[in-house]
Symmetry: C2
Subunit: 272 residues, 2 copies
Amino acid sequence: MQKRYTYVISDRTGLTAEALSHSLLSQFPQVKFEVENLPFVDTKEKAIKTLELINRKAAEYGAKPLVFATLVNDETRAIIASANAVFFDLFDTFIGPMEKVLDVESSHSVGKSHGVLDFAQYSARMSAVNFAMTTDDGMETDHYARAEVIVIGPSRAGKTPTCLYLSLQFGVFAANYPLTDSDLTSTALPPPLANHADKLFGLTIDPFRLQQIRQERFSGDTYASAKTCQFEVAQAEAMYRSSKTPFVNTTKKSVEEIGAYILHKAALRRKI
Amino acid sequence: MQKRYTYVISDRTGLTAEALSHSLLSQFPQVKFEVENLPFVDTKEKAIKTLELINRKAAEYGAKPLVFATLVNDETRAIIASANAVFFDLFDTFIGPMEKVLDVESSHSVGKSHGVLDFAQYSARMSAVNFAMTTDDGMETDHYARAEVIVIGPSRAGKTPTCLYLSLQFGVFAANYPLTDSDLTSTALPPPLANHADKLFGLTIDPFRLQQIRQERFSGDTYASAKTCQFEVAQAEAMYRSSKTPFVNTTKKSVEEIGAYILHKAALRRKI
């Protein structure tokens, strides 16, 4: 299998460079990429050290490393671009054409993208995170009037990370409520949810996967048995159907995908 | 001020497209961008509806909208690319050159980037999220042996979202401990932290900003007074210095920036 050393370089956090380069690399499953993330390359000295690192690797390994960069500073970028590597500039590739279209110059200023820009947004995000923490796992159901979405599902189907993600990423007020044994004896919505049917979003999961997850910490328990997992998933899905609750199968989805899907399907208003 | 309608379009979650286009747009503060995110454009029908939306806006408004897309499907991309708009393909721009360099064809498969790829990673992430929840706000300090980092700071300086972000984004075990009044009467580390000095990371914040945040919910309380906020921040910083705890000022930083900074500075090993 072909192997390529890959460097993801940024002036700041590198999160944007990381996300796009990850998408791009995943299109080449035939190649083994050895990826190193190098954020905060924000001085000439750091750029030179990074350049030396890349050139050393290129000399050692033979094939040119790949470099994905979002470097706003021209001097830093010129240094990295001079490396013995294949250079993909995720930023500059588009800035030139955008300047032409918009007929204005770009500010070429670093790090605007993830900065705290306004207090209202910051505050919305913090409130959402606090709400998700307070209402995690069926706590404080009397706060449901303030929820924008209430994520429901069997234990370990992914409710908590989904709600934390919705709050952190989008500033959405997301509560979550676990469907327990006793809730699942009937397909009727549990009492705390009955008045909030329009805010519910269900999670389901492949029972075998659920069993695998539960067995990690509760191996041997009835809770982690195949029978329990199959029963709970089947009953939860029956409840979703009978209550017309939209739901999503989380088995092959990441937290990001589940969050983006719920945001989209439930037409939630993002504040960030 | 020049205004431009902008569409961010993707086959899947659109998170990558969103991150990069946001970075790019922030380089043009002279322009007001009206941004609409359109994720999950994954069928020919949805692509045609999107095309019509863009063309309607172009006709209505005059200036061509900007379109940022990560569309893997060739048919969908061709439809969107035919819009009366300026089309920036964040994906295809790089795939062609990468195919040449690597001398292999891309798989052109959609949505690999955020998919759950392996159970070990999923499990690491869930464990980290559970750890962050369990050890939030000074709870369960006896779990600190398992922490990779313990974030400390005055109340409302940003500890909880930082730890949740570190756990969700990087799978890092991050606990947080609030420095309270009584902790801050001395510059010595509070007892629960004393044996974990090498894991600590401090947060500080501009006292006026802290006051603004606290007044949102506790206006009038001593807790939210200028004097209290100034005292707590000064004492916390004195504690960081005397205990040689690295720290970061969160005033102008987003949660993403704080998280990436701590990961980098504390040299934490990411699992995701």
